[in-house]
Structure formats: C-alpha cells, structure tokens
Amino acid sequence: MKSLTLRILLRWETLLVVAIIAVGIWSATLSPFFLNRANLLDLVTPYVFVGLMAFGLTFVVITGEIDISICSTLAASIVSFAQIFAAGVNVWAAALIGLCIAGGLGLVNGLLIGVLNLPSLAVTLGTLAAYSGLAFVVLSGEGVATFPESFTKYGGGYLAGNELPIALLVLVAFALGLGIVLHGTRFGRYLYAIGSNREAARLSGIPVTRVRVTVFVVSGLMAGIAGLVYVGYFGSARADAASTSLLDVVTAVVLGGVGIFGGTGSMPGVLLALILVAEVRSGMQLANLSGQLQNIVIGVLLLAAIVAGNLISAARTGSRPARLHRRRKGVTANARADAQVLVDSNP
C-alpha cells in the first residue's frame, strides 16, 4: 500500500486541478485581463452546452457504451423547437416539445442498443448522420433568431451586476444533480456495475436492459437541455449547430477520468475537465491561434489523457491490475479452446 499523500497526489482530479492552475498561469502571462473576476467567471460560458452534453455522455460511457450522436440530437432538437416557436407557440411550451424530441431520439438509440443488443458505436454513428440529416430537413439551411430575452437569459444572461453568468449556474446545478444521481443513488451504482461486468450485473438481478435504455434517454435529454442553453447563448438555432463540438464533448468526458471501457469515472472529474478544455481554448484564443490549430491541440490532449490514464493505473500498485487479471482468467479457458480450433483449421 502506498501512502495516503501519494494516493491523493495520483488522484486524477488532483492532476486536473494542477493542470487548470498551470494553464491559468500561462493565460495570465498572455493577457493581463485574464485574471479579472468577470473574465474568470465568464470563461466557461461558451462551453456550458458542451458540458451539459458531456454529463449525459458520462452516464453512457460509465455503462461501457458510447454515444457519438449527441451533437446531431442537439441540432435536431433545437431546429424543431425553433420551428414550433416560429409557428407562434409559447417559447417554453416549444422548448418542452424540443426536449421531448431529444429524449425520443435518445430512446431510439437506447432501444436499438439496449433491446436489440446492437453495438453502440455503429448505431450512434448511423444516427449521428441520420439526426443531422433530419435537422436539415426540418430547417433547410436557414436560422431562427427571434427568441425572447426571458428565454435566452438562461444561455447568455447575467446576474449580480452583470458578472455572474446564469448559464454557469445552470451548469453547476446539473453537475450537482447528476452527480448525486450518479454517486448517491441505486441507479448510479447500477451504471458502474453494468460497465464493469454486464453479465455479472444481470445475474445479480440488475434490470440491465432497462438501465441501458434509460442511459441513452438521459444522454438525449441532456443534449436537448444543452440545445436550449446553446440557443440562449448564440441567440439562434441552425441545423449545423454544435456539429463540430463532438471532439470537445468526448475530450471533456475522457479527460475527466471516465474509463472508456466502462465502470469508472466521476462527475466532479468531468466538470473539472470541462473547465480545463474551456481554459485551454480561451488561452489559445488569447495567443491568437486559429480554430483548426486549437482542434489539433484538443485532439492531442484527448490522446494524452488516455495515455496518461493508462500509465497512472499501471503505476498504482495493488487492486486494479489484480482485479483485471482475475477477470481475464474466466475468459482464458474459452479463448484457449477457440485458439485450438484456429490452429487446427489452419494447416
């Protein structure tokens, strides 16, 4: 057993905080305005919708699946919302319908993956395209941009003397709420159990199918909520909205320490990773780097996060590698039999 200090130091969240401080210092040297209270509070505002999608995706990834259709779900949901609003429906009623559509699109993913047992990667790659096509069909290339201020303030408005962004409060509220669901409820424990070993979870009486479907509905709903914040912040709804945000969302989740093979991850980690992504992007804007160059850096960050995670789990002695080893043993007998067949059939 290593000492407590070392274990705290090796905690992923600690490393994220260190990284956030380091990038903060770098940004402060680029611009004297970076450390302004107003600027610090406003740092994450443009990425709140990314964070809300990342929270939904976290649920999916912890169960050992992936949902790459969320950005298209966001687009399809907000253009429907915008069309219904433009037809004269009350903005909140239209928003509610938009949310239902987002949840419905998530449900379609969930049924295909949870009930028919199809691979989530292939299904959501398909619906990524299908939903984005759908968004264009609903709102062919135009934008709607006449939303009332009482609605848009939740994406782009401020409180407390024009310094505290309301969107930030929305983000923190969802992080808290979903964090409690993930870390404090039976449903949350189910996600980890399914992500660690789906067969064992099923045998211990967890309603695996229902939970897996629910997870994709949650992911769709969070994309819908992210869409409402998106419309509030940017003031318009377009069919290509958020189409380039998938990299940021996946980076926030993976950088947040959520294990890509399922079974591990925490909500505070994802929130910290989102702050880091927002900070890195804003720092690069201060340094006058183009959007494409920023994407290269975020892409490298995503790859580095996984490599670092692999190295850290190797550096940690004790529990984790041993457990992995035990799980492998069951597989081994089967694999040896299959290997024999392979050797026999190939002269």
Binding site: F136, S290, L303, N346
Partner: protein
C-alpha cells in the same frame, strides 16, 4: 429447399449466408436502378454511368482499406481527413512542381497516407487507445494540419497540369481510368484477404482477439498493418479525389468517412470484426454511390444523402445482427448434431 439447408455442413451454411447477402445487395441495386430510371430521365445515360463509376471508384479504394481495419474489430474515422490532406498534398505538389510525373505524385500521396495510418495504428496497438477515440482525435488533428497547410487558400483546376486533369476524363478500353484503378485495388485487396497469411490474421483477430493471441498471432503488429494500409489507400483515394475534383480547399472530403463506412457496413462487413468480403464492399459502394447520384438527379438536397447514409448504417447493422444470431444458433445446433448423431438421422 429447407431440406437442402438442413443437410448443409456448417461451413457451407456460413458461405450460403454470405452469398445471400451479396445477392440481396444486387437485388436492392436493381430496385434502385428501376426506381431512379423511371423518375430521372438522364439517370440511365452513358455519361451518368461514367459519373457514377468515377464516384464509386474513390469510395471503393478507401473502403477496401477501411474493411481491413473493421475486420480486426477496430474502426478508422480519420479516412475522410486523410483523403482531404493527401488530396491537397497532390494538388499542391503539382501546382508548384508541374514537371513531376503523375505516378510519383500518387506514390507521394500513398506514402503520406501510410504515415498517417501508421500513427493511427500505433495509437491503437501500442498506446492502447480505443480505435473510436484515437481516430476521432486524429480526424480532428489531420483536418487541422490540412487547414494549417492550406492557410485558408485553395488550389483551382487552372493551376494544375493538363496531364493530371485528363486522368479522370481518360477512358482506357472505354472504361474510366479511375474505375480501372479501383478494380485493381479491389482485386489485389480481395486476393490478399483471401490468400495471404498475415491478412487472414485480420479475421482471426476480429473473431476472437484473445484466441488469436493464444494461437500465436502478433495481434498488435497486424492491427498496425491494417491501419497503415487503410491510411495508404486513403492516400491513394486522396490522389483520385484531387483528379476528380481539382478545386481543393481545407474542407475537401469532409465527412467522406461516413460514405466509406456506410459502404463497408452495407457490404456486409461485421462491425464486430471477423467477417466480410471485398466483393460485398464493392457492391455496397456501388449501391451507396448509385443512390447518392439518383438523389442528385432528383434535385434532393445534400442532407437527404446524409440522412440516408445514417439510416442505411443502422438498418444494415440491425439486419446483420439478427441474421448472425440465427446463423450462430443454427451452427451450434449443427455442431451438436455432428458430435452426437441423432437416432432419426441414423435411421434415414
């Protein structure tokens, strides 16, 4: 008929299922041709078919590489970015050095693609990053590099030598040159996957990675080869793309990976790896390109194609998984029968 199916040995049953898949695509293709032929007057014209053949060719070249990756139970999302980057490289080389032979430029594009694919392979096999995440990141990184090199400018057809521009239009033996190249890639690819031992390993790795390792297959090295080949063929695809669409900017072939993966999945390559044929993928590519062409002739917007591609992926995966499940059940029963002959069979 049913009696014949019952009498089949396991291997024959599996082969029959594959043939059924390929026949299914051909039937779908016939339906599509009749439908668009009736709706769009110029659909059946010779020039339109040459158009389709050229588009199919680019998809086929890239899809053969993608097939190798998918067979190993991985995926390569970065091929669209590799096509774009290598395509720009081809155009930029020819624009600045008009004297370079076209074949050399094609080799440069393939070498560049090979390098980019090698990076993907190393990330997946050595750094142990899941292919979906690794290639999602390199998709953004390669596109970013493309944008940095182009610097917001584009290369137009007028800057390129005629030798290169006439390549796409030339028709040796009455068939577009691009189609000959694609045919060559498909034949070599099919032969490789059928007869070459290291390529057979792709199937073994995809069927059961653990078993492949126990059987002594160097899985990591094979996966690197699959990604490198996918990259090299995407590089060649970039060369063909540049000859077909000679006006290139940093957005060239954006989203092309979706068309390629649709062709691969419709063509019957199992997304869990381990099964699939080049013939199926070629048929899948023809089907996708024909439908896409029909949509254009009917003046349907670009996004209908995107919607169709996505829908087709989901539909193909659903059908595949249902068929596979039935087939596996049948195979298990057949194996059990072979081990313990039932009394009924002994009587007959």
């Amino acid at each position: 008929m049913i009696a014949r199916v019952r009498a089949m040995r396991p291997q024959e049953l599996a082969a029959a299922a594959f043939r059924l898949r390929e026949i299914g695509i051909v039937l779908a293709l016939l339906v599509v041709i009749v439908f668009f032929g009736a709706r769009a007057s110029n659909f059946l014209s010779v020039s339109n078919w040459q158009d389709i053949a050229q588009n199919v060719s680019i998809v086929v070249v890239v899809a053969v590489g993608e097939t190798m990756v998918v067979l190993t139970r991985n995926i390569d999302l970065s091929v669209g970015s590799i096509v774009g980057l290598c395509g720009y490289l081809v155009a930029a080389t020819l624009a600045h050095h008009p004297g370079v032979p076209v074949e050399v430029v094609a080799l440069i594009a393939m070498a560049a693609g090979l390098g980019l694919g090698l990076i993907n392979g190393l990330l997946v096999a050595v750094a142990r990053i899941p292919a979906i995440i690794a290639t999602l990141a390199t998709l953004a990184i390669y596109r970013g590099i493309d944008a940095e090199i182009t610097g917001g400018k584009n290369i137009t057809a007028s800057q390129l030598p005629d030798r290169f521009l006439s390549l796409a239009a030339s028709k040796p033996l009455g068939f577009p040159a691009l189609a000959w190249i694609a045919l060559g890639v498909a034949v070599v690819g099919a032969a490789t996957l059928r007869f070459v031992p290291w390529a057979r390993d792709f199937y073994a790795i995809g069927s059961n990675p653990d078993a492949a390792r126990f059987a002594g297959i160097p899985a990591g090295r094979r996966i690197i080869i699959a990604f490198a080949l996918s990259g090299a063929l995407a590089g060649l695809g970039g060369f063909l793309f540049a000859s077909r669409f000679p006006t290139l900017d940093s957005g060239a072939a954006n989203g092309f990976e979706l068309t390629v993966i649709t062709a691969v999945v419709i063509g019957g390559v199992n997304v869990f790896g381990g099964s699939g044929t080049v013939l199926g993928v070629v048929l899948g590519a023809v089907l996708v390109a024909t439908i896409s062409n029909g949509f254009t002739l009917l003046r349907l917007d670009e996004f209908w194609k995107i919607f169709f591609n996505g829908f087709a992926i989901v539909a193909a995966v659903t059908i595949d998984s249902l068929v596979t499940r039935r087939l596996q059940e049948a195979l298990r029963r057949r194996r059990a029968e072979l081990l313990v002959p039932s009394p009924a069979r002994a009587d007959a």
